[in-house]
Symmetry: C2
Amino acid sequence: MITVTVDLEERSYPIMIGTGLLDDQALLGKSIPTRQIMIVTNDIVAPLYLSRITSALNERACRVVVLPDGESFKNLSTFEQILTALLEARFERSCTVVALGGGVVGDIAGFAAACYQRGVSFVQIPTTLLAQVDSSVGGKTAVNHPLGKNMIGAFYQPVTVIADLNTLQTLPQRELRAGLAEIIKYGLIGDLRFVEWLEAHMQQLLAREVDAIAYAVEYSCRAKSAVVAADERESAARALLNFGHTFGHGIEHALGYGVWLHGEAVGAGMAMAARMSQRLGQISSADCERAVALIASAGLPIAPPSNLDSSELLTAMLIDKKNKKGRIRLVLMSEVGRAELCDDYPSPVLTSVLEERLGSR
Amino acid sequence: MITVTVDLEERSYPIMIGTGLLDDQALLGKSIPTRQIMIVTNDIVAPLYLSRITSALNERACRVVVLPDGESFKNLSTFEQILTALLEARFERSCTVVALGGGVVGDIAGFAAACYQRGVSFVQIPTTLLAQVDSSVGGKTAVNHPLGKNMIGAFYQPVTVIADLNTLQTLPQRELRAGLAEIIKYGLIGDLRFVEWLEAHMQQLLAREVDAIAYAVEYSCRAKSAVVAADERESAARALLNFGHTFGHGIEHALGYGVWLHGEAVGAGMAMAARMSQRLGQISSADCERAVALIASAGLPIAPPSNLDSSELLTAMLIDKKNKKGRIRLVLMSEVGRAELCDDYPSPVLTSVLEERLGSR
């Protein structure tokens, strides 16, 4: 087991990464130290892993909320359902909320933990690649509003993250690819050498070879932890982690949540950001192609869905937390392995990127 | 104008206390420095004061949410209404939410500010005595759940509090009395000399003499600020500010929110806490009578409503954020001017206090 520490002074916490962690009852018992425990999970993950957690905690007051699977349930009504369960169980401020599942479960459960009695302990047990490398690290919690993704939430750090790599073996291939999008992101925005490593190891990652997966997860957690430690509330550096996300959120919002996976939208979004960077003369066409090829090698989309109108996409992108003065702020590449915030670009360039579809190139 | 600073390092903020502050357009403009401003108020306060704020901010993108008056609207659905208004206005993370009104408006608006895009700037303009001396200071925000008061919320500090004492002149007498409950609390839990001052000046306070009101507001803000600065998230000392509140919340919850004002319930709750302290031998019967007489002199109730069954009250009190291991934790008096947390008491003593009604003494 490897432990990566997110360094946030008195709110620092460990991310434990390894195989078989959910079979280690002593580890689970120690990592969730309270008497009252509310496990939030979904109907896909519960049959696979829930019993391992509950049996490790068998002497405690353990309750479970099982949500339907999917981003479309990441809303205020599900949030309220968790709070009602906590109140019906008469759970006290000393309780712990445990998120067992992917990013959706973690985001909702984390927001409920942040708000129940103004904040109770929160433990993340991410079971998807995307959650292990991204959403379970860094304390962003949220639910969606019909008018915008992740618009209602809190910065709220977990006390522990337990990432059992074995859970990735049951993941549908489509979700594995979606997780790879975030891993690729850490390379494209911050580290040419990691891009090279990804180019050399993509087939091992897609085949879920444990050594490759373990390295990619550990690398990603370290990369994200460093950014979060430097800028917990996204005033500056942390915004770079949104590379591909403004385009991606636009796709998700315009399509309707859950049609594309978040990671798929981020894959297409990163390719769009790369093209935009090239058209602005910030990177060469070779670098753009290299970035797009890496995304494509993970089996991810590299353009928005063909049935999506560019004006719908633009409208959806106008609702983004990074925007200032009505201007869409984008994270663009300045080279392979480096990114920067940009809101000073000619609008027609953005429009041309939004209009481009596969086949029209 | 007097300024009391709440000292919370990089989140420190001023409480400005004075007469005529809402007529000072320059002060309002400077205190709310952003371009996009969402004012949250209610249908009682809006006709009285809203135009002063909007005219001071006339060049800005100013929107208003007017809520119905009353604690019964302090719920998730009102919270969502504010978030929807923010999204419909396409307000960005750089916006400000302004609470113009009493404790209910401040609690809901503050929670919405805490959660919109994971946190935007928040300014409190309290227009009731209770809000000026208590709820607008210290960063507790929340909404109620059908199963418990203030159970969904956040610790979220405002950037500025503007307390215009002139607004108290339009306050119904019943609300003035309710505000006095929290002022009396600061004396009973922390300062015998302030108790003496209150005993000497209660008639001036009830007559809204500006000097007396100004001193009481300033004293209360200083007292609360000191506690909050030492213990922002209520791990220890801050819990003493809940003197009278566990009983009081029980009354409010069992009666239904809005039947009694919060301050009325706290008045009765403090009298009950004093009686409980006496029965446990912690204070003399003379001290108990002195505390109860002070509460009564403000025209506040000193016992629960006669139609409320003690077992309903007990059930309602079992849902409280201070409780540990199912034990109701109470703040009790150890002398006039000193309080302490207590969860080690014989249950029959609590039962006898809950059963006592006026007329049965």
